[in-house]
Amino acid sequence: MPQLAGVPAIELVAIDKSFGSVHAVRGVSLAIDKGAITGIVGENGAGKSTLMSILYGLYRADSGEIRVDGQSVHMESPRDAIAHGIGMVHQHFMLIDTFTVLENLVLGAEGGPMLAGGMAAARTELERLEREYGLSVDPDARIADLSVGEQQRVEILKVLYRGARILILDEPSAVLTPQETDQLFRILATLKERGVSVVLITHKLREIMAATDRVYVMRQGQVVADRRTQDTDPEALAELMVGRKVRLHLDKTSTRRGEVVLEAAHLSLVDGRGVRLLDDVSLTLRAGEIVGVAGVSGNGQTELLQVLAGIRPPTSGTLTVRGRVIQTGHPSDPGEMRDLSLAHVPEDRLRQGMVAAFRASETAILGYHDEPPFTRNYILNAPAVGAHCASLMEQFDVRPRLPGLRSASFSGGNQQKLVLAREMARRPKVLLVGQPTRGVDIGAIEFIHRELIKSRDAGCGVLVVSVELEEILSLADRILVMFAGKIVGEVDAGQADERMLGLMMAGAKPARSEVEGVA
């Protein structure tokens, strides 16, 4: 194993952790070098977050040792971690919306029972930190009024304020725009210069290559590789992450586009604060094609799906679904959309697409519960419901085949398959799918992708929204890119490449010559 100079800031030795029957971390040993940026990369469920939570004292390892600066330590709680100079910037910010930046900063480190003195001292220290690390934020601003990037900076300042010399960042760019991500990495570089050790947890290979000195690859709870970043490349890392050559492109026949099944004209959605969540969005979806909507999470894709599915009415614009014009004055609703043979697989299946406490058979009729054959004269037909669920499970290989089992007891992949089955079995003419393979294991991913293509081939118009560019590239016939609520680019799949799409996702238009050059 390549060794960088000196005692590592952190050493994890043979850490093991199980939650009931789930063996989340299996005998992991790794070292975080001082004054360097170490990346830990892996898919969902690889164990990276659990491992870092153990380091930060949120969980207790079942066995193994933690060493800080060569000394063995016990992490009983985040308090211990903070005392040892470890700070964590979580994916979901631990910030009180109604407090100011300064108040959030001092929470837990107020410097005395009375606030006045502590706050004044904190203000001075904050100014010093801002100068030293190049992070600027208004101390008296309320968190609720700050942008996501600024809020993250507050999180980093919080950690530095407590004297952290080791910074753990858990998927920091998940909520940032590409510009904000670049800004973040500049900040990390400054931190590194000042001798702070950084641990970057991510599943984005681009970031590993751009920012880290050393990278550990985790898969299924184990460390499967340890490399100097300069000695490796994204393809190698991807293969290590997944364990086999990744099939990025499925075989699919070229599309036979039919009539327009969905048309959005100048859709806009403005929220209570005047933020334009959707800005003059127009798109067309035809039968027999898959349109992929790419973009970093938070650029309006969620809102787009909600509007198209009838969950949220747009502020202005028209939506035409299979010939029926739906105007803003007439609020559409999901039931009406279903009547028009539009089906919707939501982005967040647990929050929207299913009811965890319901049996699988009940989840299998969600949205269709008041239609025949499930309901006649308002009375539910239990045998019909059960039979339907069994049939869905058969068609989509949902395991275990138990319609009476609680929906929450199924694995993520099987839950997703059930939801997809429910929507696709109706043979809709329009299918809206959000994050089709989020939290789904590899085997199910391929199955789901194949089903979506089958649906397309059968004449359905499919709209797929995904933050995984790989997924868009492998599924879509046409790709739309969303940024800041607008559609900023439309490319035929055959002419698209990751770099160009990445630029569009970042809000930067590729130079005209580049686009033409590729064509």
Binding site: L58, H90, M94, D97, T98, L107, E110, L115, G118
Partner: protein, 307 residues
């Protein structure tokens, strides 16, 4: 002119008399609710305190021991509420309702068993057993009234200007952030609940040994709920809640005076309408017809560590 001044003074005094238990309970309720624990049980705590204050005062002859006993009784209930809601993450509303019912029954059961007067405690007569007015003999301004007035700026100061207050507010908004900062969510909430018990204890003691001279069954008569209404009406802020208590107290003081009086243009105002006004006003506020009341974000949700 003199008559008008007297009427105003008497009305003001009556308002304060009525508002004192409301203010004390409201301040207590504020601490609990700002920390994220709904407190529907203010009524029950106050009732228990009133009973024990009067009982102990009658038995020992000392009003101060009575006050101490009242506080102890309310704290007992507060601990129970805390145990159910914080340690066991139980339903906070149910716990509050249970405490109210428990207090209503227990005070009469114990009262009958100990004093055999159908639930009442013996009348407190000699001067040591009651709390007497200090400056204005007719206005009933005993020490607890001043305590109630002082409790408002004290509460404000604790919540806004101390470390404890900052953490308290934080835990009512996002306990996860507090936990991640290495602060014990449970201990913070327990302290909030205990402070609430303290104030409710004072309020109950006031009822039975200052405002009146004994305990009678159900003597709180819904004042705990009015205090809760005042907290909400005051948007969970001490001075606003105090204002609400004064308003509700004024309504009550005026209600008696208005009985039988014909108000020009409206006719006779039913006393029940005035009695219902605090509740109706709070509902109007909750409906957003008079501004918005935003509760602490994490209120009512038991905090579960994810591990």
């Amino acid at each position: 002119m003199d008559e008008v001044a007297t009427v105003i003074f008497l009305t003001f005094a009556a308002t304060l008399r009525v508002a004192t238990p409301l203010v004390l309970c409201a301040m207590g309720g504020l601490f609990s609710e700002r920390s994220g624990i709904i407190d529907v049980g203010l009524e029950g705590k106050m009732l228990m305190a009133a009973f024990f204050a009067a009982a102990i005062s009658a038995v020992t002859g000392s009003a101060w021991l009575g006050v101490a006993a009242g506080i102890a009784a309310a704290e007992g209930m507060a601990l129970l509420h805390g145990f159910a809601c914080i340690t066991h993450r139980g339903n906070q509303v149910v716990s509050g309702v249970a405490i109210n019912i428990l207090a209503a029954g227990l005070t009469v059961v114990l009262g009958t068993a100990w004093f055999a007067r159908g639930g009442q405690t013996p009348a407190l007569e000699n001067s040591g057993q009651r709390l007497w007015p200090i400056f204005f003999p007719n206005a009933g301004d005993n020490i607890l009234v001043y305590a109630a007035l002082a409790s408002v700026p004290l509460t404000w100061w604790i919540i806004e200007r101390t470390r404890f207050g900052l953490r308290l507010r934080a835990v009512g908004e996002m306990p996860l952030a507090v936990d991640a900062a290495g602060i014990s969510v449970a201990w913070l909430r327990y302290r909030a609940v205990l402070i609430c018990g303290f104030f409710a204890g004072l309020a109950g003691a006031y009822l039975s040994i200052a405002q009146n001279a004994s305990f009678g069954r159900d003597m709180t008569a819904g004042q705990g709920f009015i205090a809760l209404a005042a907290v909400i009406f005051g948007k969970w802020r001490p001075f606003s809640a105090f204002g609400a208590c004064l308003l509700f107290g004024l309504l009550d003081a005026v209600a008696i005076r208005l009985q039988g009086v014909r108000v020009p243009g409206i006719g006779e105002v039913p006393v029940q309408l005035i009695q219902a006004l605090p509740y109706l006003l709070t509902m109007f506020l909750m409906a957003g017809f008079i501004g918005r009341a935003v509760a602490p974000k994490a209120i009512g949700v038991p905090y579960e560590k994810e591990h």
